[in-house]
Amino acid sequence: MEAAVAEKRKLAAKDYKSDIKPIWCPGCGDYSVLNALTRALAELALRPEEVAVVSGIGCSSRIPAYTSVYGFHGVHGRALPVATGLKLARPELTVLVTSGDGDGFSIGGNHFLHACRRNVDITYIVMDNQVYGMTKGQASPTTAPDWEGSKLTPEGTGINPFQPLVVGLASGANFIARVSASDPINMAKIIVEAVRHPGFSLVQILSPCVTFRPEQQEWRDIVRTAVVDYTDDAARAARRLMTDDGFNVGKVLYKGSRPPFKPEFEVTDGSIAELEASFVI
């Protein structure tokens, strides 16, 4: 049905939404990410069946079911390997991953490293709210060390926050951007760019958790559009990212040109009989 329609006219953002009502709290930043994502898919003019959105567990990871494309809602922290397998086995699909700061950088940290390094052509969208929303408010790797809002770390974590873009860059991500949920139009634009860029694209989204981090509603006033344009020099990007305060948003910060990892996957003329012949004695 959707396909037939798609042939007739360009789909609108709303055509990429499902009819399932999100479980999110009113005002959650993730609504605006869903809006931007569907807007980006419309802009990319992809048919819904050509796209798969993969996720783990968390409020942010609920996105796949709220879209009308193929979705996979797996276990906590393992979205990237699922997406890797899917993209390698079905290279013609457009594969996106939606994640949170806990799912992506805490339990999923190792896959993050190796996905950056492996540079498969997927787009990784991380809704960073500096908290575990789904489990009702614990510190995540990106939480400030002095945040005392969690009963698990009532005096703060005392640990330096994880810098996802710096680590992503150091591990080999091929495209790096930071956007704010308060600007869904620009977010959509950058998601489009990320999808189009070959290799592993990392998009960090500052997406407030209004329930457990109500103070993040101020982010919309704090963020500023990054002043410089992207660089393709990793060392320079590293210096910039290591010294920024995390609120430079709305632009691509780094674009690399490493070719994506794409092992050949197509039926060749070898046959099973040939393989068997090697055992004959």
Partner: protein
């Protein structure tokens, strides 16, 4: 086994070329029309340590090693005691060492085997380019009746690239050993047989067979993380998959490999991973995901000695529990087990078929013994199994596609990404028929029933077990076993039968789900059962008790790895019951 056989060991330290020697011998034996089984054992060193090749030759296919060895040829004595428990020598066994290297260590002499000296190094040094291991091979060939010609073609093929001089040197050493054999005490000789027609014999390891079964079944995506003793499955698969248009990805860890194959399979490509106990442990959470989201995947576990890191290079049948019961929640899935080197092929291919047909994770249990043993065996049969997944291709008019529809079989047609109009979200959260998360008791019950129904109603045909009657229709004794304990059990049965005993062997290939009706039928008339397995805790026996009604007089014969339960111990119990 009723046919004549001879069992021997070649042992020596690093440079001695023990394993090479064993491989040459195997090939030569195949040329001579014999069947063979070779297992290897090595010390803890990564390279250059001591090694032993345990080989059995026979004129019929071989299911198992014997209880002891007729012949041990030690190229040197370096750390050989480490193998003492694995290479039992009896009073009529023959132990051959090089007199230049001193006495045999006491650990080998417990049962006072016959001893003889063979001056391997001296003989070898008399030949330019000659090596002790070729002398040893020659002597072995001479003693067991392997014709020189059978070795000649092997050596000339193997050493072709090294030139004629190398070939000549090797054969000279071999011949010298062969000649020396006449002066040595006798060991069993095998009769000459006609060589098999071309193509009718294979030389294959269990791990290679597993890889071939995967490809035959339709697997085209493999992701894995190396681990002993499963790595050879992957090493065989990597280039072979490339030849048939598939791909193998080395993942960053087992959490990644299981999830990569789930992703590939969700994408419609039959997918597999291979690992061993520690890796399987790490995959447990995501195997549960594949159960809940109904994604077919095949997970091969080449078992080794546990718990924890255990003994990485040695065999045990102790991952049955985790394979059957490992997941949290109720997670119906399929577990199958290979019962011989050849059966690794059959069972893995069947596993792909089962996984794809039922859209459920299927675990294949093999072990180090099967996986790393090389067998000369009859060409395996072609099999009809091929991964066949029920796919959804068009949406029903006016209906939203129900990925998890409550069908009678429990299997719901699966939409493959790319199919228009059927986009859905696969979910590990409990869900309704559409796949939408639900916390309603009724949805949970319905989906649980469906997932159980899939595996409970499936027709596994006769493959659920291999059943052998020692004497058709007779006897009230059964051996119930599985996996690599099947070989020794089979041999025990043959021997028992040769002694006039009557018994039945039931080797379960389908470990889960249980088949109580089938086993009940197979146990018809049986009053006594012997359950045989290589585990400390008697896991298989406990599992049988949990799901089956066993004969009142059921005895559990189990021991941990690495030593297998030999045919003799099984036979003893059968005989005890006969008297």
């Amino acid at each position: 086994m009723a046919a004549p056989s001879v069992s021997l060991v070649i042992a020596g330290s690093g440079g001695a070329g023990v394993v090479t020697a064993g491989s040459l011998l195997l090939e030569a034996a195949a040329n001579a029309g014999w069947y063979a089984l070779m297992t290897r054992s090595a010390g803890p060193q990564i390279r250059g340590g001591e090694a032993a090749a345990m080989i059995r030759f026979a004129t019929e296919p071989i299911a198992s090693h014997d209880d002891s060895f007729h012949l041990l040829v030690a190229i040197d004595w370096e750390n050989i005691s480490r193998f003492a428990a694995e290479i039992p020598l009896m009073a009529n066994s023959l132990l051959i060492g090089d007199p230049a290297l001193g006495e045999a260590p006491a650990a080998l002499l417990c049962n006072s085997p016959r001893q003889a000296g063979l001056a391997m190094s001296e003989i070898a040094s008399a030949i330019e380019g000659g090596r002790s291991n070729m002398v040893a091979l020659g002597a072995i060939a001479g003693m067991i009746g392997l014709p020189v010609a059978a070795m000649e073609s092997v050596v000339s093929r193997q050493l072709r690239r090294k030139g004629q001089a190398a070939i000549d040197a090797s054969m000279a050493a071999f011949n010298a050993g062969f000649a020396a054999a006449t002066g040595l005490p006798a060991v069993p000789r095998l009769p000459g047989v006609d060589a098999a027609p071309n193509g009718e014999r294979w030389s294959i390891t269990g791990n290679e067979a597993t890889g071939l079964g995967a490809i035959r079944g339709g697997v085209r995506f493999v992701a894995a993380y190396p681990i002993t003793p499963a790595t050879e499955v992957l090493e065989w698969l990597a280039p072979s998959l490339a030849k048939v248009g598939g791909v193998l990805v080395q993942a960053e860890d087992e959490l990644a490999s299981i999830n990569q194959i789930i992703g590939a399979s969700y994408g419609g490509v039959p997918a597999l991973t291979a690992t061993s106990g520690p890796g399987l442990s790490l995959m447990i959470e995501s195997i549960g995901l594949a159960v809940a989201a109904e994604v077919p995947v095949v997970v091969v576990d080449v078992m080794r000695v546990g718990p924890s890191t255990g003994i990485a290079t040695k065999s045990e049948q102790s991952d049955l529990n985790i394979a059957v019961y490992g997941m949290h929640g109720d997670a119906p899935h399929v577990v199958v087990a290979a019962n011989s080197v050849a059966d690794c092929l059959f069972t893995t291919q069947w596993a792909v078929h089962l996984a794809e047909s039922m859209q459920t994770p299927t675990l294949v249990l093999t072990d180090q013994l099967l996986g790393q043993s090389r067998a000369i065996l009859p060409r395996p049969a072609e099999l009809a199994f091929i991964g066949q997944r029920q796919t959804a291709v068009v949406a029903e008019e006016g209906q939203r596609y129900q990925r998890y529809a409550l069908t009678g079989s429990g299997v719901s047609p699966m939409a493959i990404p790319g199919t228009p109009g059927l986009a859905y979200t696969a979910d590990g959260l409990e869900h309704n028929e559409l796949g939408t998360p639900s916390s309603q008791a009724s949805d949970h019950q319905a989906q649980m029933d469906k997932r159980l129904r899939k595996v409970a109603r499936f027709d596994y045909g006769s493959h659920w077990a291999d059943i052998v009657d020692a004497e058709a229709g007779g006897g009230n004794i059964a051996i119930i076993t599985w996996g690599s304990s099947t070989g020794p059990a089979r041999e025990a049965l043959d021997r028992f039968s040769a002694m006039g005993g009557k018994a039945r062997l039931i080797s379960l290939r389908l470990i889960a789900p249980a088949q109580p009706d089938k086993l009940a039928a197979a146990l018809a008339g049986i009053e006594r059962a012997l359950v045989v397995e290589q585990s400390h805790g008697g896991q298989f026996h406990r599992m049988l008790r949990a799901f089956y009604d066993l004969p009142r007089e059921t005895l559990a014969l189990h021991q941990p790895g690495p030593l297998p339960i030999g045919p003799g111990r099984i036979l003893d119990q059968l005989n005890a019951w006969r008297t």
